[in-house]
């Protein structure tokens, strides 16, 4: 039975090709962000660790940046679930701290400021997520990292793109760079 002879080859080529391109785009997009994005170092606070679908991971909380002050959220007016927000951080003596929250990417950003694109999962809470809250580790290696977070010795190195997208670049333990994220 030589039905649709060429057609299946074209289908295989198109499907495999497009799916591969989608995957390649995801990889290049991330690698570019990590390579080119502005680097900031944030304090990490302990949050209960969990495990899921993509394997073991450790949840990273960012203190004031993850749990915004009530006053800051007043500026954005009516809140919705899963709403996109832009959080401006300013570097001070206690590290990066949030100074304002806006609906759009702010027009003027000072040199000592950086803007993160975040999401309000729940309109009634003050929690904001930036997509940098999970650090995936090889099976069974999460415990050691959790200890470091609890001891307060861990900082996260984050790359920030010009649109505010953030990517985890690595972890810093007692001022020493560890778990550096390779580009590929």
């Amino acid at each position: 039975m030589k039905r649709w002879s060429m057609k299946v080859w074209v289908a295989a080529l198109i499907v495999a090709g497009l799916q591969t391109s989608a995957l390649a785009y995801m990889v290049l997009n991330r690698a570019n962000l990590i390579a080119e994005g502005r680097e900031i170092v944030l304090d990490v606070r302990p949050v209960d660790p969990r495990s899921l679908f993509r394997g073991d991971y450790v949840i990273l909380g960012y203190g004031n940046i993850s749990r915004l002050d009530k006053e800051l959220l007043k500026d954005i007016g009516k809140r919705r679930d899963s709403m996109q927000v832009f959080v401006t951080l300013k570097k001070g003596d206690e590290g990066w701290q949030p100074t304002s929250v806006t609906k759009r990417y702010p027009a003027n950003v000072a040199a000592d400021e950086v803007v993160l694109n975040g999401r309000l999962p729940n309109r009634f809470a003050h929690r904001v997520t930036y997509g940098i809250e999970a650090f995936f580790v090889p099976e069974g290696e999460g415990k050691e990292l959790e200890k470091l977070i609890r001891a307060g010795q861990l900082k996260a190195i984050v790359a920030v793109g010009s649109d505010g997208t953030a990517a985890l670049k690595g972890l810093e333990v007692e001022g020493e760079r560890r778990y550096d994220q390779p580009l590929f």
Binding site: R3, A12, V137, E139
Partner: protein
């Protein structure tokens, strides 16, 4: 399930044709045995091979997903991704080869396997770069990849897989936002329309189940508080369309039956919600709603038996039983209520039995007497 085989339909129709005098009993038996042999022989074993190879693909896919989740360090990350991309190409090229050789049942399994590994690759990239944005977004990309594969190869299992992923996406977003997730409707319409057009029966059933769940969720999630009566109305509309289809367009009888069952299930789920998941419902209202639910169930049973729609009949039996248990649990606190429940449920069951007996005699009575006479 809903789609009956040709032999099943013949088995139902032949006695009537014999009774009408169009064909002889011997002729009918010859036709039936010929059709049964044809269906159980070739297509029967074909179907088994198809099911087994799809199940095999699902198992391998689960293995690949666990491989990603294990985050195995012995192999560099890029090598792992390369391995998965290689597996994607192998699966689709393998599908092309097997399609060309006419081994369709293996080809479909390979297309599905390719779609699953595509998803595993997305998860691997998310893990590689510690991406934790909006998790449902990755599922959307996965569903789009599975749809692409299913549409390009004309492979139903992959399209159905895409539909299941769309359901996961909608469920996830609904849970995150705690509100009605409208984007599901156009996506569902696209996938369900494709499956109906491709005449994929199990896909149609899964589509019906998916949209039914979404409609029932409207009752809970609409912004102005619970609104189960709207859901009942929608269910009645769907059942009505289904009924009209079965009665008018023979070509779409199967679809009509599916819509009828879907509409009935939606109505029943909304009735259940109104009776048992509403805060402090007065006893009188509950009694009226329960009576309506019983009446609708009996009507569905009656119609199912009359039109030989086993799915509808069984669904209605199940609904009846669930309603009985629900009323029992709800009224259990007050003795008067419990007593009321027992008496009315008993009366209902007896009425049902009498009705079934009457309907049975009407349907089976005639051929029986004829067989006795001949």
């Amino acid at each position: 399930m809903l789609g009956k085989s040709y032999a099943d339909r013949l088995e139902r129709d032949l006695p009537q044709w014999i009774a009408a005098g169009w064909i002889s009993r011997d002729g009918a038996n010859a036709i039936l045995s010929e059709v049964q042999e044809r269906e159980s022989g070739e297509t029967g074993s074909h179907r088994l091979i198809g099911i087994l190879s799809v199940l095999g693909a699902v198992l391998i896919g689960a293995g690949v997903l666990s491989f990603v989740a294990a985050n195995w360090e012995a192999m560099p990350r890029l090598a792992r991704l390369g391995l998965l991309v290689g597996a994607i190409w192998t699966a689709y090229v393998g599908a092309a080869i097997t399609f060309q050789r006419g081994l369709d049942m293996f080809a479909h399994a390979l297309v599905l396997l390719g779609s699953v590994i595509f998803g595993a690759s997305i998860m691997l990239i998310a893990q590689m770069y510690h991406m934790n944005g909006n998790p449902p977004d990755t599922v959307v990309l996965w569903a789009a990849g599975a749809l692409l594969a299913g549409a390009a190869f004309g492979s139903n299992p992959s399209i159905v897989f895409s539909l299941l992923l769309a359901c996961l996406w909608a469920g996830w977003e609904t849970q995150l936002q705690d509100a009605v997730f409208w984007p599901f409707v156009p996506v569902w319409a696209l996938l369900a329309g494709l499956l109906v057009w491709r005449d994929c029966r199990y896909g149609e059933v899964i589509s019906a189940f998916a949209i039914g769940t979404w409609i029932v969720s409207l009752g809970y999630l609409l912004p102005d508080g619970p609104n189960h009566s709207l859901v009942m109305l929608l269910g009645a509309l769907i059942a009505g369309i289904g009924l009209a289809l079965t009665q008018t367009v023979t070509l779409y009888e199967r679809h009509g039956r599916l819509l009828l069952v879907l509409g009935y299930v939606v109505i029943f789920a909304a009735m259940l919600a109104e009776q048992f998941f509403t805060y402090k419902i007065p006893f009188e209202t509950l009694a009226v709603l329960a009576l309506i639910t019983f009446a609708v169930s009996v009507a569905a049973m009656w119609w199912g038996i009359r039109t030989n729609d086993k799915t509808l009949t069984r669904t209605a039996y199940a609904a009846f039983a669930i309603e009985v248990v629900g009323i029992y649990l709800k009224t259990i606190g007050s003795l008067m209520g419990t007593s009321m429940f027992f008496v009315s449920a008993g009366l209902g069951v007896i009425a049902l039995a009498t009705g079934a007996f009457w309907v049975n005699r009407r349907i089976n009575g005639q051929p029986d007497t004829e067989r006795a006479a001949s």
